[in-house]
Amino acid sequence: MAKKMTLHLRIWRQPNPHTPGKFVTYTIRDVSSDMSLLDLLDVLNEELIKKGEQPVEFDNDCREGICGMCGFLVNGVAHGPKRGRTACQQYLRDFKDGETITLEPFRAKAFPVIKDLVVDRSALDRIMAAGGYISVNTGSAPDANSIPIPKDIAEQAFDAAACIGCGACVAACPNASASLFVGAKIAHLALLPQGQPERIRRVLRMVEQMDKEGFGDCSNHGECEAVCPKNISIKHIAIMRREYLRALFCS
């Protein structure tokens, strides 16, 4: 049963990358407990616009946990209290009536704040461009069964491919390391036959780009796995390291 709730939102407001930000607290009354956290931000923004104030900027798109656009820290945890979910899939029923919810942008040198809760995650795209691809001829789609892949391999590759590139792993990591994201991408392609031709180059280049972007190194805190909305395991960080060793000895 939906209840009516009153919530206080303590939100990081920062007008642009160059002006220091600060927390501002807003109170929203009589909202339904079945609303999502992003719905709550919509309600707040409606009120702010009516009052002639700047609405709170936040990234979002699908609002069903599949696109990877949304994400910020909710009470100190990337994406929020419920595990295995994106910020857009957090619901008010998981908060207490009258609670103050703190929303803070992902923080990393490689993720500069653009405005309020919006950060620039294009560093992840540049890592992908450095090696997270396979080379195939374009044209008509190949027959789906032309390359047989054993089911267990397909499943492992799919577990890795489930990464939506949201960057929560970086945000939650005490070192601001992108190892879980990069590990998932490397593992996904290294497992599949289509990924073999660039296998050695891929891991070297993606790791090099990850370092260039200014992400920290992995100290195995494992915090990334705990906040990942797709439950990507730190197994993939180990796979990245094995791929790296293999590349050092094979090239």
Binding site: G216, S219, N220, L248
Partner: protein, 222 residues
């Protein structure tokens, strides 16, 4: 390619290999020092003399051990420095999500427990390795009376307190370090990783307790 030793992944290979080397040394070192508890001072001195009899061989092992320390410290400082640079503005509100997170007091304090261990190791080497030479005759052979030195050092309460304190830091360092080193080398396994994650707690605890018992024993009974 030339940049690979500086790469985030390679740094951790080096840190982990050196860390495992230091860990193995610590295990052997504990077993050696349990000879202090046999009740016969000659056992301890005989073993030390036996090691010393390798001469150049022992010097090479000592230099190797020093190299492991340097490699470990150097790589861990790089990891720490990169971490500091990677998040110039910290969170106002941050907490661990719990669940499968392996973030603990131990994992968060590796650099501090490590630096305490470094200071300790320097003090330790000066006190014992380069400490006073007391001669003693055992089995008709003159050798260094290290047993006497250890007893002297650990009859000072302040030394016992410091030593016991540092061993808590060693336990904390290895509580995260043990499983982390394996993970850094890519050794993840869905069944074994949880096992050596928990096993690391036991091993770290056992090592710390072992090293705590020795100075207390010496203080109380020798």
């Amino acid at each position: 390619m030339a940049a690979w030793p500086r790469s985030s992944v390679a740094k951790k290979f080096l840190n982990a290999i050196a860390g495992i080397g230091l860990f193995l040394f610590v295990v052997v070192h504990l077993l050696e020092n349990l000879l202090l508890l046999t009740g016969n001072p000659d056992d301890y001195n005989r073993w030390a003399h036996f090691l010393e009899s390798f001469g150049v061989g022992l010097r090479i092992v000592e230099i190797g051990l020093a190299a492991f320390f340097i490699a470990h410290i150097w790589s861990s400082l790089l990891v720490y420095w990169d971490k500091v640079k990677a998040r110039p503005q910290g969170y106002r509100v941050y907490r661990t999500a719990g669940g499968t997170s392996r973030q603990t007091l131990s994992s968060r304090t590796m650099i501090y427990t490590g630096l305490v261990l470094l200071a300790f190791v320097i003090w330790h080497v000066i006190t014992f390795r380069f400490g006073p030479y007391y001669p003693i005759m055992v089995d008709g052979v003159e050798m260094r009376d290290l047993h006497r030195l250890v007893v002297e050092v650990f009859n000072e309460p302040i030394n016992v307190v410091l030593y016991v304190g540092v061993m808590v830091f060693l336990g904390l360092h290895l509580r995260h370090g043990f499983w982390s080193a394996l993970q850094s080398l890519g050794a993840y396994h869905p069944r074994w990783t949880p096992l050596w994650y928990s096993g690391g707690v036991l091993i770290a605890g056992a090592l710390a307790v072992g090293f705590v018992v020795i100075p207390l024993w010496v203080y109380l009974y020798l």
